[in-house]
Symmetry: C2
Subunit: 282 residues, 2 copies
Amino acid sequence: MRIFEEIKKIQDWCKEQKMLGKKIGLVPTMGYLHEGHLALVREARKHCDIVVVSIFVNPIQFGVGEDFEVYPRDFARDTELLEQEKVDAVFAPSNEEMYCRDSSTRVEVTGEIAEKLCGASRPGHFRGVTTVCSKLFNICLPDLAVFGQKDAQQVMVLEKMVRELNFPLEIIRVPIVREADGLAMSSRNVYLDPEARKQAIVLNKALGETAEAIQSGERDTARLKSRLREIIESSPRAEIDYAEIYDAYDLADVSEVDKQVIVALAVKFGRTRLIDNRLVEV
Amino acid sequence: MRIFEEIKKIQDWCKEQKMLGKKIGLVPTMGYLHEGHLALVREARKHCDIVVVSIFVNPIQFGVGEDFEVYPRDFARDTELLEQEKVDAVFAPSNEEMYCRDSSTRVEVTGEIAEKLCGASRPGHFRGVTTVCSKLFNICLPDLAVFGQKDAQQVMVLEKMVRELNFPLEIIRVPIVREADGLAMSSRNVYLDPEARKQAIVLNKALGETAEAIQSGERDTARLKSRLREIIESSPRAEIDYAEIYDAYDLADVSEVDKQVIVALAVKFGRTRLIDNRLVEV
């Protein structure tokens, strides 16, 4: 497995691979890998000759007061896991390599899709995500990029960006990977103390009950959301950032569930903010 | 010469060319081609196996009240000229093909380089340029893109964008092509009435005298600019939009000319706004 730290070196290597007719799959990550990430890697492997994983905790997608500095990192363990998955190349640049001192180019998707949910709670977050992914796409030249459904709004925003800027690649979504008790895997789960960890399963429980209610015929999103909030609030440590039901394609408001919707949650347990979601089709 | 109107078709064709090992050169234009454009095409031809010229009057780089609707167009003549140059492919999409109804992804370079000069006179202009060029780069997959030094700030902004988003291509600048009397070639020159056309040579004259003054030892930009304005204002129909001297790399202010500077002009003759510039090295 090759490890690249320099943009020019991996970009040249990827160009060579493409000249050899290889299909490249990219899995962008912020490291501290778990089974969720490995599911992305395995999905990339299914479709591609060359699998590239980037590990980069992207400073510009964190807001002031967010957890950029303390975001968990373990490069040695990450590379060991990726070696086991027979990944071809890891791209792990420094901040200085990715953003020169006077860097001021940004890629931004505007509109509801990027401004609701995490876009409202974390101003500038998606601009950071779309900018870094544009760079990663240009550097690694993937035919295919794989993202987790866990960060549902992120993948929606990136799909829109890829479509509208005509990036020559396909985005693949991989379903959420969960712990045995249903908690969505996340690098941030390590922040949870034992009691918060126990209570955190309420997110998945609330999503499951909402999906069931819809399947049982409830269509009124106001009633569904009010029940969704009640379930979460039954956990004493849970503090809702958002609990919403929107159109699954563009996050438009829906008053009646009459097409695919996304039930999306962001819930804080102390300083740890968890997100989870479920797509529901009627 | 192939003519493409659909993004997917030319993108697939360019992918094929690259798989065949061909080097692609892209010349983005808004059509109504003149010798300046043809110089770009010839420069692309020098370096590349495949030359693609895009013809697209990009609506999002025009402001309200600007000349988008009346911008001169002559597709038949353009393709005839490009055929003579042995161009391999023309990409001429419709507005609807380039921008879907709910399109909201934008690429933007911020800072002095994009906010001074035309950035100040034409808010949003460079965001339109960087967005459309990002799309054209992703669609045509060039190894090399050729731009004219006539639109000096545009090429500076695009070079910064390519650097900071890591587009896998090189930008080449081609010197300004001028009419026999020194007027920089521009599709907008057709707007000029005979008297304005005659007076418009004052731009090149003013640039030349400023360059000479610098070469003769004048280093004070305030004095240089004041003389620059005087020369232009000697033309009764000329109305200065800007007449500035900045650092040629990033448009930073310079009080003393002690490195390469750009002398940049935008001057209106009635409703026709002309730009011109000269790089001066000390």
